[in-house]
């Protein structure tokens, strides 16, 4: 049953810190930015592909996610439950800073499914939180004057009630 890994090509990726990762070409397909680079090259890509915007920590996480999801999808029974558990752990294991960094890396590498999952994770985190929490999370400056903000809050008072403690 193990035909695939024997015949599969390996691609090497190099992170900002210079760490090298060997990746199966079937996994590399999910990194659409990398795949486009491979498709555009006339000859076979043998030397490591540099990823100037991606750090080791992020690439390691992304590959971990993709490897696991490929494993789940290859037809094991009850994969859905295992996958949900893996996803929940994966999301919980990161701090907010790490989550944001991973989103940026997944966006750069164009890893669609992972990006959807991360975006949903962030949405779940911020859904019932206060305005200040959301500003902190995204690193956004408040450009409302105190009067403007007060007016906005008063117009929709009900929406600002029942917010979770940070």
């Amino acid at each position: 049953m193990s035909g695939i890994s024997d015949t599969e090509r390996m691609i090497t990726l190099k992170t900002v810190e210079g760490t090298l990762f060997d990746v199966k070409s079937s996994i590399a397909k999910d990194l659409k930015t990398v795949q486009a680079f491979i498709d555009d090259s006339d000859d076979d890509v043998t030397s490591p592909i540099p990823l100037p915007n991606v750090f080791t920590r992020e690439l390691s996480r992304i590959l971990d996610y993709l490897n696991n999801h490929h494993r789940f999808r290859s037809g094991i029974e009850k994969a859905d439950e295992e996958m949900a558990r893996y996803d929940a752990e994966f999301a919980k294991s990161m701090s907010h800073e790490e989550l944001k960094a991973l989103i940026l890396a997944a966006n750069y590498l164009n890893v669609k499914d992972l990006l959807e999952f991360l975006n949903q994770t962030v949405a779940d985190v911020i859904q019932n939180k206060s305005v200040e929490f959301v500003r902190n999370f995204f690193g956004i400056e408040n450009d409302y004057t105190p009067e403007e903000e007060e007016k906005l809050r008063n117009e929709n008072e009900w929406a600002f009630n029942g917010v979770e403690q940070d």
């Binding site: 975006n119 911020i126 305005v131 117009e155 929406a159």
Partner: protein
């Protein structure tokens, strides 16, 4: 945070479109650029497209103890799963709606059109997830006995929400010989306009107190009939193009068009025009017909039929029968799955069934009520930000 570490706006939009309106209102307070992003029509559309739809069920039971009291509408919003499980979600409606018995008469893009009392005379359009509403000015009220029905729709050409109201006189010699009076309300202008163009002579096919309608190609359709000779009726489907505000007639198959005793109503919810006909007396026969090619009479297909024989509802083709059915069922709507929702009256108890024609399944949902249960408008609701960026005329509650 450096510039490079900021999450790009495209991703922010992808995150925010997953949030409910209440959270998004808070997000407009995060910064002015977030407010601007959330208020753009394209973001509002994006959010609506992904907002999970819930099926609105309205049932009106006649409470018969100690004495018949005015019908109270009970509504629930259901997940569109096999048994229509109750989502527990409630619509927060404006206070004016609570003064009298209200019912929902239209749903569109997260907006709810409600009427209180009779004759679709007291109307409100609201977005419950934004707690904004507008009370419509009074439409015309007629001294004679009449029925009035409304349809609520979006006009994409004029980017406007409209309510079309048809009134038919029922207590005089005009019944069946005159055309309904038609008024159209536009949210953009805030006024009713009486249409003076030609409206076909007809009265609308009613179930209980309402005339069911359905949208096909963004055009509203009602079952209708007009007098033929002295005693006969001719049935057809009346259409109204909300954009151009013109009426049309869609022909029914001959067996339905000239069946004098039948009632032929439109079932909404599917992109193909579908009708439900009830005819004959003991046994009576109910049929569902679908127009496969819009406007082509030959393309009408009878997709289903059942017989009401004695008090037993039978589906001969499937060998199914349901006992204790006292009157012909009512078709509420067609679900997104294509199943037809039917309200059955089983010796004084209303009961909902879901009919899956393709898979030949007739499922009892266990949803209903005590006492005679009336049909009311049913459709899909999804939370939305629609009208968040249009403040004029709208009141917060």
């Amino acid at each position: 945070m450096t510039e490079a570490e900021h999450i790009p706006e495209e991703i922010v939009a992808n995150i925010l479109r997953r949030l409910p309106p209440k959270s998004l209102i808070r997000c407009t307070a995060v910064s002015k650029s977030w407010r601007d992003l959330i208020l753009t029509p394209s973001f509002i559309s994006l959010h609506l497209r992904h907002s999970p739809p819930l099926l609105l069920l309205q049932l009106c039971n006649e409470r018969s103890h100690p004495s018949p009291s005015p019908c109270a509408v009970r509504y629930s919003l259901r997940h569109d799963d096999p048994f229509l499980s109750d989502s527990g979600y409630t619509l927060i409606l404006p206070p004016t709606a609570l003064y009298r018995e209200f019912s929902v008469v239209g749903l569109c893009h997260g907006l709810v059109c409600i009427t209180a009392g009779h004759h679709c005379h007291s109307l409100v359009i609201c977005n419950p997830s934004l707690r904004r509403y507008v009370s419509l000015p009074r439409p015309r009220h007629y001294r004679s006995l009449y029925t009035a029905t409304v349809a609520f729709a979006f006009d994409p050409l004029h980017q406007d929400y409209k309510v079309v109201r048809l009134s038919c006189m029922v207590d005089d010699e005009r019944y069946g010989f005159s055309a309904p009076t038609v008024e159209v309300y536009s949210l953009a202008t805030g006024f009713w306009r009486t249409l003076s163009g030609s409206t076909p002579v007809c009265s609308l096919a009613c179930v209980g107190k309402d005339a069911p309608h359905g949208f096909v190609n963004k055009i509203v359709h009602w079952g209708a009939q007009r007098r033929e000779g002295d005693y006969g009726w001719y049935h057809f489907v009346l259409s109204f193009d909300v954009v151009h505000e013109v009426f049309g007639e869609v022909l029914l198959p001959e067996s339905l068009a000239y069946a004098p005793e039948d009632s032929v109503t439109v079932i909404g919810g599917r992109e193909e025009l579908s009708v439900f006909s009830v005819g004959g007396e003991f046994p009576s026969c109910c049929e569902i017909w679908v127009m496969k090619e819009y406007g082509v009479v030959e393309s009408w297909n009878k997709v289903f039929s059942f017989t009401l024989r004695g008090f037993s509802l039978e589906v001969p083709a499937w060998g199914i029968s349901v006992a204790n059915v006292t009157s012909p069922p009512v078709a509420l709507c067609i679900r997104k799955s294509g199943e037809v929702l039917l309200l059955m009256d089983e010796t004084g108890k209303g009961n909902l069934y879901s009919l899956d024609i393709e898979r030949k399944r007739f499922t009892e949902l266990g949803i209903g009520g005590e006492g005679y249960t009336w049909y009311l408008y049913s459709g899909y609701y999804a939370e939305s930000l629609v009208l968040l960026n249009n403040v004029s005329g709208l009141v917060s509650y």
